[in-house]
């Protein structure tokens, strides 16, 4: 009993007087209140605002039905953002996971050099995204940047890194991959180290070649890790904002205007809160659908037992 645990100390909270049915609810109430205030109320408010017209200042928020959704779905900028975000996710997620797995396979051994390299790889992950974006803005400046100075030194021409639509998106993908790689590597190392050594020994006795062992032993056994990273990195790819806002502001001419950046511009630059909220709702639904799809397609191949 609680009273015994506290000994002679008088307990002001009469736990024994509480209804056994009520107690669990009371204990989780503070956390539920926190989640309600900071998660559920904003979600429901966003849904409500998506059916209204509001610019932050007007005392009225007239109900406009599906007008905001219709305007959004009929706008070129929304479909451009959908396309840019999809390209970003389709290119960056496999790139991140493949690179991380390759590096993790090399760094999983417990040597001093591996530990140093792991730390070095993790540094960008914990570095401020704004700082990274500012530094890379200078690096990729067309006329005064380090990247083009390097190319010029090699006798090559200047590249319009942040002015060409394809290059600008590619630069953002590379920077984002570089920043997130350390996290993926650490998670993969944990996954790889959890694969039982006996399975590798058995495969070796059976004459399995290195690639065969990797494909038939390692890959299936780290599927839970891959699945986790896939879910996280897809969500993250759909939420990239800071690098874009600092480096390109969605430009050139919308070439890097991903969904969250468009949401920010719509809501907080153009002050169309209704349409911005409609976009938030669509993004929310999209991520749920993607999570369900991943669960259907990849989840069935995930086994948590060796």
């Amino acid at each position: 009993m609680f009273d015994q645990a506290v000994g002679d100390v008088h307990c002001r909270f009469p736990v024994e007087a509480m209804s056994p049915k009520l107690t669990p609810y009371l204990l989780v109430a503070p956390l539920l209140a926190f989640i309600a205030v900071f998660t559920y109320i904003p979600i429901f408010t966003s849904i409500d605002l998506s059916f209204r017209s509001w610019n932050f200042m007007s005392p009225d928020m007239p109900f406009v039905g599906l007008d905001n959704y219709a305007r959004l779905l009929g706008s070129q900028s929304f479909w451009n953002s959908m396309s840019v975000t999809t390209i970003f996710a389709v290119v960056s997620v496999p790139l991140r996971l493949a690179l991380a797995l390759a590096i993790a396979s090399y760094l999983k051994r417990e040597a001093a050099s591996s530990r140093v390299l792991r730390g070095a790889l993790f540094l960008p992950t914990i570095t401020s995204t704004v700082s990274i974006a500012v530094v890379f803005s200078w690096v990729f400046s067309t006329d005064y940047g380090l990247a083009n100075a390097f190319l010029s030194a090699l006798g090559l021409g200047k590249m319009p890194w942040l002015q060409d639509p394809t290059l600008a998106l590619l630069v953002l993908i590379l920077i984002n991959t570089w920043k997130q790689l350390g996290y993926d590597v650490i998670i993969y190392i944990a996954g790889l180290q959890a694969v039982p050594q006996e399975l590798y020994d058995a495969a070796a006795i059976d004459g399995g070649k290195r690639w065969q062992v990797f494909r038939r032993v390692t890959v299936p056994l780290i599927m839970p890790t891959t699945y986790f990273l896939l879910v996280v990195s897809v969500i993250e790819a759909f939420q990239v904002f800071t690098i874009i806002n600092v480096m390109t502001r969605g430009g050139p001419a919308g070439a890097t205007d991903m969904l969250v950046h468009l949401l920010y511009r719509t809501g907080f630059v153009l002050f169309d809160i209704g349409t911005g909220s409609a976009l938030a709702v669509i993004l929310f639904a999209l991520l749920i659908v993607l999570a369900l799809l991943k669960s259907r397609i990849v989840g069935s191949k995930v086994h948590y037992e060796a």
Partner: protein, 418 residues
């Protein structure tokens, strides 16, 4: 306790009580602005001078970023009741707040203020929408054409260059590129939005008619001006760096890497600090019209502030436009004088005598025009950046882009009810 000690304690308590009463009587005005570095220091001086004259008013001046940042932060602060009492607002973007009833109508204050007759006409008109006055001008500007004498001379352009038309500017920029391109020096900085608006006006058009509110983005003369501006970038006379980030063009000019820059007169002091006597200043081109937009910002007062705070805020707003404050501001920044009596004061007279080119913007005033400030202007200006990038970087033809942009702006104006 000795008698002396009693007296000392009593005196101290009296001083404390008087100080506390004075502090309680002081009205605090929170003031959001957009000036840092040298401009910020000049503003600090004006605030300090005001507080010395008005010890009953405490101005809490806070730098909150550029004009766009202020608009965004103000929008977010209003529903949270966390807004300032007074705020700097750019001259084409305060209409949004006036329309929403967020800004106090300053007409009764302004009508009773002798300042009203001291202001130049162009400055007084800046704050008026309909019959009401919503902001009092503080920092007014027009775009001017800056050039680097050294760069142009090395490109074979000696003396004061002829940069009165678009063609003349193209020719000069091309000379710089051909002569000094190998050194990484480009002819001209890609024009920023303020300069773009000025170049459209110099070509005999506008983006939105300030009187009728008519959208002129697809007017043939507007298209012609954008065609020329985009050609500066597509032909390599201006660095594309300045298209995606306007400040890059200015920074390159300040670093001596660009021959010509069209920008606000508010950049005069910074440019002179960077280039010294190499800096030349000319009026914007007349192609064929001599017309420049009036830019800058004024100070508005929030309608939600308490009446005594609004009164105190207006005292400050009025002081900031006074000859004393305006002379300091003009001399330290290069922004236009807004008060007819400013130039007579020694600080302004010294600046005019010792800083060649600071008067170019003043001489442009006969051709200066106010711009539209209806609520749709904020949307139009924000969207124009994307349109400009698409055209200047050769991703979309000018005519197609501007026609679509005009249609979208008309639709947005209809949605906003203006």
């Amino acid at each position: 306790m000795s008698r002396k000690l009693h007296t000392s304690i009593a005196a101290s308590l009296l001083v404390l009580a008087v100080s506390a009463t004075a502090a309680q009587a002081q009205t605090t005005v929170t003031f959001w602005h957009s000036f840092n570095n040298a401009n910020g220091r000049a503003l600090d001086e004006i605030v300090a001078n005001f507080e010395a004259v008005h010890p009953e008013i405490n101005i809490e001046a806070e730098y909150v970023g550029n004009y766009n940042d202020i608009v965004a932060r103000l929008q977010a602060a209003i529903p949270a009741n966390r807004g300032p009492d007074a705020v700097i607002l750019e001259v084409t973007r305060y209409g949004l707040f006036a329309d929403a009833g967020v800004l106090a109508d300053l007409t009764p204050y302004f009508d009773a203020d002798p300042l009203k007759d001291e202001l130049y006409d162009y400055a007084r008109q800046i704050g008026v929408i309909g019959e009401k006055n919503f902001i009092v001008p503080f920092n007014s500007s027009t775009p001017v054409l800056y050039y680097n004498k050294d760069v142009l001379a090395r490109a074979g352009i000696e003396g004061e260059p002829d940069l009165k038309t678009f063609d003349a500017i193209t020719t000069a920029a091309r000379s710089v590129n051909e002569t000094l391109g190998a050194e990484g020096i480009t002819g001209i900085a890609a024009p920023g939005q303020f300069a773009r608006w000025g170049l459209v006006m110099a070509n005999g058009s506008d983006l939105i008619d300030p009187m009728s509110g008519e959208i002129l983005l697809d007017d043939p003369k507007t298209l012609e001006a954008y065609e020329w501006m985009a050609s500066l970038v597509t032909e390599g006379l201006a660095s594309a760096d300045g298209v995606t980030e306007e400040d890059n063009g200015r920074d390159a000019f300040l670093a001596g890497k660009v021959g010509i820059m069209m920008n606000s007169t508010g950049n005069y002091v910074g440019s002179r600090s960077a280039l010294g006597d190499k800096l030349g200043v000319l009026p914007m081109p007349c192609n064929p019209d001599c017309a420049v937009p009036i830019g800058g910002a004024g100070i508005g007062i929030m309608a939600t502030s308490q009446q005594d705070v609004q009164d105190a805020a207006y005292e400050f707003v009025s002081y900031a436009a006074s000859p004393e404050a305006n002379a300091i501001w003009f001399a330290a920044t290069g922004y236009l004088p807004i008060n007819k009596n400013s130039a007579e004061l020694p600080v302004a007279a010294d600046a005019l005598a010792s800083q060649p080119g600071i008067d170019v913007a003043i001489n442009s005033l006969p051709h200066a025009h106010g711009r539209a400030r209806t609520p749709v202007v904020t949307w139009m200006r924000t969207t124009e950046y994307d349109m400009w990038q698409a055209m200047a970087l050769g991703q979309r033809p000018v005519a197609e882009t501007m026609t679509q942009f005009a249609a979208d702006t008309r639709a947005e104006a209809a949605r906003l009810g203006n």
